[in-house]
Symmetry: C2
Subunit: 365 residues, 2 copies
């Protein structure tokens, strides 16, 4: 490994540097939501985004066990049958990768090269975590809860099982689930079978897959994925701030039809309904605006009312447009009470939590 890697620092591409074979190897393994699939309220199997840090592990559900240990009165050791005997709940949750949009940044942080498609919405079925932690009896003075998966690999020189911690208060939220089913079927291998964590509102890195251990700590977790990887850093050596909740974003299902290679869009002149989804993990979406002139002027889209049954799922929006002949740049922008998506990139070294607006050039004839 190179010195850069050994130092635990992310690499930034040189100006004009094309996507490398390493980035491509990640892009062909992992996959995004083809944006026309924004049409589905719940993303069909295989179209939900997937990011796997290492290999998808082979976990035998029959011998699998979950340990709840650390700063607790009574450690627990559970098998799948014991978990599934508890009252289950189902929750519709929109998940987005913290690295979504990374490959559009300039300069480009070198990692999984997402454009805009690292998102999806699923119905997760499982048991709330909080009652299990209560049963184990969290010690006074507990700080973090660490979730460890069965996936094993090396990252910037550090060999590890994937592990991420949540602050105790977040782990105790009533909507945080240990899920064994996705859209009514057993979890597929790539989504964490037999059990994964679901933390509604947080970026994907918190939703630990192939969960094997939950450990309560009386101090802050200093593992790689919390202390090094998922942080907003602007300078080399900057310790940065943690990545947590999903920032507001709207995406448009590109109208018309594409060119195979360039993915440029073509559509006939006349009325067309623009549509897409908007979401935020911070606060309810308050507004979606659309520009058909590259951001010069903006029109409010019609935003579906919030559905009290699905507070953590994306919402639909539509806008009727009469497309005039010519080339146009469509831009969409969501806002929640914390603010609107930025029109200029907000760069950070690892390309995390970027919610720059989407731009869709279309040719109308």
């Amino acid at each position: 490994m190179t010195d850069t890697v050994a130092r635990g620092r992310a690499r930034t591409a040189e100006p004009g540097e094309g996507i490398g074979l390493d980035e491509l190897a990640l892009a062909t393994r992992n996959h995004g939501l083809p944006l026309e699939a924004l049409r589905y309220d719940v993303t069909p199997p295989g179209l939900h985004y997937v990011l796997t840090h290492y290999d998808i592990p082979a976990v035998d559900p029959a011998s699998w066990r979950l340990g709840i240990t650390g700063a607790v009165q009574q450690p627990l050791d559970l098998d799948l049958t014991a978990l599934q005997a508890r009252p289950a709940v189902t929750s519709r949750v929109t998940l987005e990768c913290a690295g979504n949009g990374r490959a559009r940044l300039e300069p480009r942080p070198v990692s999984q090269p997402w454009l805009l498609e690292a998102v999806g919405t699923a119905e997760w079925t499982g048991v709330p975590l909080a009652p299990l932690l209560e049963e184990a009896g969290v010690s006074a003075g507990a700080v973090d809860v660490v979730f460890t998966g069965a996936d094993h690999g090396v990252e910037r020189g550090v060999e590890q099982d994937y592990a991420r911690a949540l602050p105790l208060a977040e782990a105790m939220r009533p909507d945080v689930l240990l899920a064994w089913a996705m859209n009514g079927a057993d979890l597929p291998p790539q989504h964490g079978a037999p059990l994964r964590l679901v933390v509604p509102g947080w970026y994907g890195m918190a939703h630990v897959k192939w969960l094997t251990r939950i450990e309560v700590l009386d101090h802050e977790f200093d593992g790689f994925q919390n202390a090094v990887a998922y942080r907003l850093k602007t300078e080399p050596g900057d310790p940065g701030t943690p990545v947590d909740r999903i920032r507001p974003r709207a995406l448009l299902a590109p109208p018309g039809f594409p060119d195979f290679m360039s993915r440029e869009r073509f559509l006939p002149a006349g009325p067309v309904q623009l549509s897409g989804r908007a979401w935020s993990g911070r606060a309810p979406i308050t507004r979606v605006e659309v520009s058909t002139d590259g951001g010069g002027t903006w029109t409010d889209a019609e935003l579906d009312p919030p559905d009290p049954a699905h507070p953590f799922a994306w919402r639909s929006w539509t806008l009727d447009w009469t497309a005039p002949p010519g080339r146009h740049e469509l831009v969409v922008r969501a806002a929640d009470s914390s603010g609107a998506q930025p029109l200029e990139q907000e760069w950070n070294r690892q390309g995390m939590a970027n919610n720059l607006v989407q731009q869709v050039p279309v040719t109308v004839s």
Copy 2:
């Protein structure tokens, strides 16, 4: 569109040219089989490779109809209920994209940039096509059968519904299916819902998805996907030869664990079982060989016997290896009665039907 595109020619990357944003946009939409998923006899939902030329169309199965027309005595017009009332069969088939391996070629043909992962095996359920063509009464003198999908787009300047023809004799093979189910469930949208063609043994481009029309021609089909796109061409202007059946290939599930970014593999010294799959659409696989020294010496792997129930599915192979410390290059090579995989690339302008051997560097400690 550029002149190059308008001329209908594929572009080849310049020496050293990185992967472009257009190639990346395809790589993030489409996706391959993470090679550790070679462990599954039947590829789980969402891990099977997907290539969609344009957008995934939204087809309403209730109003969908299939027309069988052209050089037939009695055109047919069928809905899904009528098809599903016929005796169904299920067939396990390994599918591979004709462009698999393209991004490893030098110079690199610019298109969907597959490395090695454009493969998968599924159980397809549907009705054989031949009895339907017999019912329609294929005219004497029929030559080709054209299959048209609901997917619409532009490719090198040509606006089109995706359409591919098979020679009549291939279309009449008893194992060619019109399939509405994959692995026991309705076809997912990205695999062609509500109905797709399955042509066991042929590369993926023949297995037309979102099927809406079947037309029997009394002449050779000259549509884009047969006459221009899926052909082996070496010179500009070369009409080339058609891509048809899958060439032999073996893939190894990379042993050990990966580095996140480089995907380099690490494993401890000592005994390890190497394993993977091998397939060919031309003739049964006769041999799989493994080299642990970059192709210097070769050892025969243990190849599972052919399973008469699944003549079109990949076969497992294994080889016990005692890994010595150091850096090694693993290479695997399959052969059928038509020959073995090449050790040097066989280049063509569109990067089609390439079956150069896989190389997996591993670091043993």
